[in-house]
Amino acid sequence: MKRKNTLPFWGHHILENVGAICALAIALDIFSFLMSYDEIDGGIVLFFRVSLPTYILAGATFWMFIYVLGFFKTYYPVVLSFQACRSRIHREMAFSFLATDLVLFLIMTGVLLILSRLGVEDALIVGVESMGLILIAEGFSLAFAVLYVRYGKVGGVICGLAGALFGGVVGAYMASGNTLFSGFMEHIISWASAGIIVGAGIGVFLVGTAVMHLVFRKAQLYI
């Protein structure tokens, strides 16, 4: 049996997602700075050092939510039409998300080390916690993808409301110039909390993947 290497397809998506998340994080950070300019102490450099990791996290959760929904509408039917083995596609998709998360973990840890000047151990802990939160977002995104693709307009409305709610929270946070999230993260920098968060992330991700697989494993393909 001749197997085709599908890494070029998934690798392209991983790089695209990481690039988009980084660009989005920087854009959000600049926008937040401009919106809350008068309320910030310490200048732009200090602001970026403190807030960029937060916006990488916010950008990652938002972007992956959009990406998952878009993937199921655009790429998933096309890929399935060429290789109608659903379990294989679902498996490759899950691994591509994990690979994206790993790259984001490295970027986040690097940003924390260089910009925030956290110690190596603290930076690793925060990186792991962030990855856990991204996994939670991806798990929910996979479950929302089921709603969006399977249940048409109703599913789309629910996804839209969820996205709007999340965007509203992030927007309000940005407008406040608040470093609440950063402060919160500083209080849970421990391997125990990292373990709990990443464990929860893996759990939610697995549940989301399982829901997606159970719903789509016998779904009719529409192009």
Partner: protein
């Protein structure tokens, strides 16, 4: 090698049965034509054969291997279906280049040189989004995927829809060339029957979710004739034979007769006997409805 087989396939959507106890075997090294009226179940049958749609009942196998969720079997199969221009998302959002690139990644025997040649032959602008292509150009994309996939069993759903006559001729040329070079099995569903009739080694007719005919095209056309003449003379000549699609012509009558093995028409009957085309056979077999 058993070929691509389906046994007792039933497909239901709610209470509606779209495929009803379908048994079909596609052997290696043949070109099949699949013809049927709109809504007969052609696309559903093709999608069930290729595991893009689960059957409600029944089994599909490829050379003895179950097809459903089986990469080993699925690697031998390509279903190039008609792209839907009304769909706002899915493949229509992509550029043709990206669509073909994904196909090249996922079909294990993909022939990039053939794909490039066909892109040049058809004059396809691969930088355009699929939704911006004309219907004919969309058909060209599906043809390129089907041909370049080099899959042992290649199923095409209305590949010539929207193609002009020159492009259709090009497609038939490419198909025959590919068949002669590789001996792949092709199954082509089409509404443009007469053009493709010379290419089909076997023809499969589907009507209301059932296979009503699967026969060698030449044999079928040899055994089907159209007889016309006076009512009573035609009735007498066709007595005991399978007849279809009776039509009144003035005071006379014409009817298609399908002869079984060993049967023949009475040579002394005073009727006019003509050969029929595949399209006429199809209309006779599948078009028997009350006229409003």
């Amino acid at each position: 090698m058993e070929g691509l087989m389906c046994r007792n396939i039933v497909k239901r959507y709610g209470k509606k049965t779209v495929l009803d106890q379908v048994d079909l075997t596609l052997e290696h090294g043949k070109i099949y034509g699949l013809i049927g009226r709109n809504g007969a179940g052609k696309t559903t049958l093709l999608s069930v054969l290729t595991a893009q749609n689960p059957a409600s009942e029944g089994q599909v196998s490829c050379d003895g291997l179950p097809v459903w969720e089986n990469p080993e079997a699925l690697e031998k199969i390509c279903f190039s279906r008609e792209l839907n221009p009304m769909n706002g998302m899915s493949a229509n959002a992509m550029k043709a280049k990206e669509y073909l690139k994904i196909a090249s990644i996922y079909f294990p025997h993909w022939d990039q040189a053939l794909a490039d040649r066909l892109v040049r032959l058809f004059g396809l602008d691969v930088k355009k989004r699929i939704c911006k292509l004309s219907k004919g150009m969309m058909s060209m994309v599906t043809i390129i995927v089907a041909m370049a996939s080099k899959a042992e069993f290649t199923l095409l759903d209305e590949p010539v829809a929207g193609l002009d006559v020159v492009a259709r001729e090009q497609f038939y040329q490419v198909l025959l060339e590919e068949f002669q070079n590789t001996g792949r099995t092709f199954l082509i569903s089409t509404h443009i029957i007469e053009e493709a009739a010379n290419i089909f080694e076997e023809v499969i007719m589907i009507d209301k979710g059932r296979i009503i005919l699967k026969e060698n095209t030449e044999d079928l056309l040899e055994h089907c004739v159209c007889i016309s003449g006076k009512d009573d003379v035609v009735d007498a000549a066709a007595a005991g034979l399978e007849t279809h699609h009776p039509e009144r012509i003035g005071r006379g009558k014409t009817v298609m007769v399908r002869l079984k093995e060993g049967q023949s028409l009475d040579a002394s009957a005073d009727v006019d006997v003509r050969g029929v085309t595949l399209q006429q056979v199809f209309v006779a077999l599948c078009g028997e409805e009350e006229h409003v």
